[in-house]
């Protein structure tokens, strides 16, 4: 437990941002795709991924491999099969809605569906009898119902009570979001003091209300009036708001639209918390898992060099960086994600020694620096100067024995060279590239390149880095042997 808390306290601000960014990204996916098939499939893939990780951890090679394949395949399937759904979600909303908007549910509650259906029927003067059970069991009271179990919708209710429908004379039993039965026969009320304008529907509705705690909505075929029967009493409903209140009271929902919104916000908040917990768990499994050590050879990057100076040489081009962290994290670290940077802002002309510290090393989040080898780097800086230097030919090979190369002239005789002042201080000649003698058998001319050593030297713009050699070859005069 104490280890858990010590890990918790070791989280830095970068880690918190890391967790929050991923959580928010997943939360946005949830907000955008909730209620769609895409979301269900993504959730399924998420579960598959968890199983795959568990299988990999347990060493179930084939299972892990199969799950990986399924996940990869499912990801492609999502994009292909649900492309229209994804397109609709992304196109229908503006950029703001994608990144931070929350669209509340647009679909109707069962109560709203019932109210709109009832008043549509009343407007058309189509008689209807809707039964909304409460706690009492209606099976023993009502008879002849046709099992329906259809999803509740306005169109469905209208079609059930449409005059040509064989079941339109009976009652429809609605439970939750479903129409459970249609064409049900309700017990008739034996009350004798009912107004003469009440027909069989009213009597049937009142009859059921006398025997059960169900709520019955009656739409009169003759007048189009809407009436509600409950607990042996029948009353006319003046408007849809009154009906809404009665329905809510019956179903035990006391909150209005504001309450529904609060409930939805609660759901979103709960989803956000769950996501943050899950991402934190995944983050810990990645960054604080089993500790692993790796060594990387990282090139040194020199920064902030004074433009007037030139980097002549450094004792090191790369350092060995020893890193630790979770195995999963270190496996994903690429060498170019680790940087070793040394600022030459305060460097002076000549030799500068820098000690490589934690501040010089930039690592991906969650990776810890253990050691760096070697720790000191010597950097030689110089100011570039221009110097005029004579050119000399660098002959190699062997001239034929009977020949003698009497003279050789190189053009240009002098070149301007740009390089570090310290380097040029010790250079008094620029040599040509090696010129072979083996193929020379007569007087001639050659074009050769200049060999600039060290490579940091540059020939000034006035020279093109080439030289022309004009040479004279003659037959050798025999030597006198003493």
């Amino acid at each position: 437990m104490s280890a858990f808390f010590s890990q918790l306290t070791s989280i830095g601000w970068r880690d918190v941002i890391d967790i929050l960014v991923v959580s928010y990204f997943l939360f946005r996916l949830y907000v955008l795709f909730r209620g769609t098939y895409v979301f269900r499939v993504i959730t399924g893939i998420g579960f598959l991924w968890v199983f795959q990780r568990i299988a990999a951890y347990l060493g179930l090679i084939v299972t892990s491999w199969a799950m990986q394949g399924i996940i990869a395949f499912a990801a492609i399937i999502i994009i292909i099969v649900f492309r229209n759904e994804i397109k609709n979600v992304l196109q229908a909303k503006d950029i703001g809605a994608i990144f931070w908007g929350v669209s509340h549910k647009a679909f109707l509650t069962p109560e709203e569906t019932i109210i709109s259906s009832v008043y549509a029927l009343a407007q058309k003067k189509i008689g209807a009898l809707l039964v909304l059970p409460a706690k009492d069991d209606l099976q023993e009271v009502i008879r002849g119902g046709i099992p329906w179990r259809g999803i509740l919708s306005k169109e469905m209710i209208l079609s059930v009570f449409w005059p040509d429908n064989p079941a339109h004379d009976g009652a429809a039993v609605i439970s939750g979001k479903r129409i459970e039965e249609v064409g049900a026969i309700l017990p008739l009320s034996r009350s004798s003091d009912l107004p003469s304008s009440y027909g069989t529907r009213h009597r049937a509705g009142l009859g059921l209300s006398e025997k059960t705690d169900a709520l019955i909505i009656i739409v009169s075929e003759e007048t189009g009036h809407v009436m509600v029967a409950k607990n042996g009493e029948i009353a006319e409903i003046k408007d849809n708001l009154e009906l809404q209140n009665i329905l809510r009271e019956h179903s035990g929902v006391s909150t209005g639209e504001k309450g529904a919104r609060q409930e939805e916000n609660l759901k979103l908040g709960f989803a956000a918390v769950i996501l943050v917990v899950c991402v934190t768990g995944i983050w810990f499994s990645f960054s604080r898992g089993m500790e692993t050590l790796v060594s990387l050879e990282v090139p040194i990057e020199y920064q902030n060099r004074n433009p007037g100076m030139e980097l002549l040489s450094s004792s090191l081009n790369a350092v060995k960086v020893h890193l630790s962290g979770s195995g999963a994290l270190l496996r994903s670290v690429k060498p170019d994600q680790v940087k070793v940077r040394i600022s030459l802002g305060k460097a002076v002309v000549g030799l500068n020694s820098f000690t490589i510290t934690q501040d010089n090393i930039f690592l991906p989040p969650g990776v810890i620096l253990k050691k760096v080898e070697p720790q000191v780097v010597d950097v030689n800086l110089d100011i570039p100067v221009k110097k005029e230097l004579p050119v000399q030919i660098d002959w190699v090979g062997k001239l034929a024995e009977h020949l003698i190369l009497e003279s050789a002239k190189v053009e240009p005789e002098i070149v301007s060279v740009i390089g570090g002042s310290k380097v040029l201080e010790h250079i008094s000649t620029i040599y040509t590239e090696k010129v072979p003698l083996d193929n020379i058998d007569k007087t001639g001319r050659l074009s050769v390149n200049l060999a600039l050593n060290p490579a940091s030297l540059k020939v000034a713009e006035t020279s093109n880095g080439k030289a022309t050699i004009t040479f004279t070859v003659n037959r050798r005069e025999k030597m006198v042997v003493e």
Binding site: L399, I404, L405
Partner: protein, 147 residues
């Protein structure tokens, strides 16, 4: 009396100093002449690299020499030599001084040479700087040593 003797001694010393100063002041022309001679450079008539010196003349003058010949000579010939003096032949291989030879010149014309023994490791570009007493470079001869 004693004081007078001391005064005379001091006077003799003072006269002696004046005499030295006079001698020094009387010879500025000669001093300037020496200085002029010292500034004068001998004129180079010929400065070449060769394989052999025969009858005080260079033979097989070349710009490239094979190590197979064993030796290489730097021959220099001067005139207008202002006085007996020395010249120096400084041998460099790839900008690195290998050896310096001091050679004596006599008025009015004189020829001198220096030589080095060639070894396998001597292959590469060479130069000989010919300098006077004051380390002034009179001439540079460039050449190569090859297989």
């Amino acid at each position: 009396m004693h004081t007078l003797r001391r005064f005379l001694k001091l006077g003799n010393f003072f006269i002696g100093c004046l005499g030295i100063l006079y001698l020094a002041a009387g010879s500025p022309g000669a001093f300037a002449q020496d200085s002029k001679d010292a500034d004068k450079k001998p004129a180079i008539i010929q400065a070449v690299m060769c394989e052999e010196i025969r009858d005080y003349e260079p033979h097989n003058i070349a710009a490239v020499f094979s190590i197979a010949i064993g030796k290489v000579y730097c021959f220099t010939s001067f005139n207008s030599i202002p006085r007996n003096m020395f010249v120096y032949h400084s041998w460099y291989r790839r900008d690195r001084l290998i050896t310096t030879r001091r050679l004596s010149l006599k008025t009015p014309e004189w020829s001198v040479f220096s030589t080095i023994q060639l070894r396998e490791a001597d292959k590469g570009p060479w130069r000989v700087e010919i300098k006077d007493n004051n380390s002034r470079i009179l001439k540079v001869i460039k050449f190569g040593i090859t297989e």
